[in-house]
Amino acid sequence: MNFWSDPVNFIAHWLTRLFIGWGMVGWLASLIIQLIGVVVLISIMMVLDIFLVWVERKVVARFQDRLGPNRVGPFGLIQPFADIIKLLIKEDITPDGADKVVYNLAPILSLMSVLLLWAIVPLAPVIFGVDLNVGALYIVAAGSIGTLSIIMAAWSSNNKYALIGAFRQVAVLVSFEIPMIATMLIPTILAGSMGMNEIVQGQQTVWYVVLAPLAALIFMIAAIAELGRSPFDLNEAESEIVAGFHIEYTGMKFGLFYAGELLHAFTFGGFWAILFLGGYRFFGLENLGPLVAAVILLAKAMFGYWVIMWIRYTVMRIRIDHMLAFNWKFLTPAAFVLLMLTALMNTLLRGTPSGIYIPGMFLTNVLLGWIIVEILRGYSRSERQKTENVAPAAATAHH
């Protein structure tokens, strides 16, 4: 075993030999090595998170025709560190009447729910935390801890704006979870497993974005809603509820929510890449070594993150009733029909050569997309006629 073909296991074996050489018991040595692995993975993610602050600010500046941070360090790269120092030395205020334990637990749970997701991310064929055979469900389970942290933060703050913000956000989270689960089942059907490693391995010949483009689109929309980002950013509204559920948090406690939000966006970009864009695969480039594969996955996650930011900074926000109607009356039925259709077509076409299988699956998606657009067109036409036939209120008042 050499370092370049399997770096993580190489280091783990070396450490095991070292610890046992010091006279440590076998199980204790492996436990300590597992803990070191967890700490290293979390540290890498948190350092990346600091970098994401800079990325987000620079990209939003481009979209809004500004320069972004450019004073501290080359290209403003030191800016996030200055921000962190500012957050750390700010006064830490706990409001009167706050439930102290719950209030302090909420930001930790919020960041934890995001970091938990990285346990199942296969960075490379041999670099992953754990190959869980229920990976897709695990993503939802970690997300439910995030939902819980929002309620805890809002309730313990003892602030009505925080509570209203949390009600809005949780309503969105709980409802958009459903199309998200339905679309996560589509790569599961195509790969025959819920494990992230097997889903990536199933995309050896073709990425699932080709077999299920509609699923990739619905997953992205649901992911943006789960993140609470524009056009679904109703948890934050300066004129109504100010900053939403984290209104009372100051200093680094607010920083944890903010870091969690940015890392969450990047993580969903990563899961979008794993489920639909081939994960660590890039036209055979991943065969150069696991470290190259990890860089490919992180680059694809960055691309997914960029798509999320692109939508966030160019699309206007939607009203909450429109948003929930959009989810329950459009996205959820579409996702379920797509799920059933994909399962059916996958069973029918499974034995056929890829020359029939791939276009067959693709055309199924195109056909369904066309039908959905036709239904929407018919609906909007009937709605338009309804408003055109009604006389204006001022005109009727005169009679």
Binding site: W27, V102, L132, N133, L148, W155, F167, V170
Partner: protein, 169 residues
């Protein structure tokens, strides 16, 4: 005692302790949060038993849906989220005896079963627990009938809820 047994005992104590807190704490939201700790402990027990699917579903369904629904219901219905009044009623000793007898009966029944003190064999590495569960849920000689009946029941509840909430114009 193996490391796994120590871990099991710690998880068991956490479950029992938090379950006790659910019924003794006076703040309803705190009770719901302690209930989440209990449910999470049960998920950990499933994980110890290599039932990864059940462990994850426990978190998704009980913490992600039911506990959050509890918190919402409490927040929307109670103005004062604090429970005053006595925490025990007159028949507490009867309930204590019944629960002790139930526990004792279950303990005695399990002790007389010959599998009680055996250690479970490890799954072979190729064993696909999730796949086996999925097959059991849809094969006619296993659980397809209860599974479908439960689905129809949930569908009926859903239709009923829509019917009640439907605003007839």
């Amino acid at each position: 005692m193996t490391a796994m047994q120590i871990f099991f005992l710690i998880v068991g104590l956490v479950i029992l302790g938090s379950a006790l807190m659910v019924v003794t704490t006076r703040n309803l939201i705190h009770a719901a949060l302690w209930l989440i700790v209990t449910l999470f402990g049960v998920a950990v027990l499933f994980a110890i038993l290599d039932a990864s699917f059940l462990a994850v579903v426990q978190v998704v369904v009980y913490i992600g849906a039911i506990a959050i629904l509890f918190i919402f219901a409490v927040m929307l219905t109670h103005k004062e989220m604090r429970d005053r009044g006595p925490q025990l009623n007159n028949s507490w000793w009867l309930n204590a005896i019944i629960s002790l007898l139930t526990f004792g009966g279950l303990f005695w029944m399990l002790q007389s079963w010959n599998g009680f003190s055996k250690t479970a064999a490890d799954f072979p590495s190729s064993f696909d627990a999730v796949g086996q569960l999925g097959k059991a849920l849809i094969s006619p000689d296993a659980f397809v009938l209860p599974f479908e009946v439960a689905s129809v029941l949930l569908l009926a509840a859903l239709v009923g809820a829509v019917y009640i909430a439907f605003n007839r114009k």
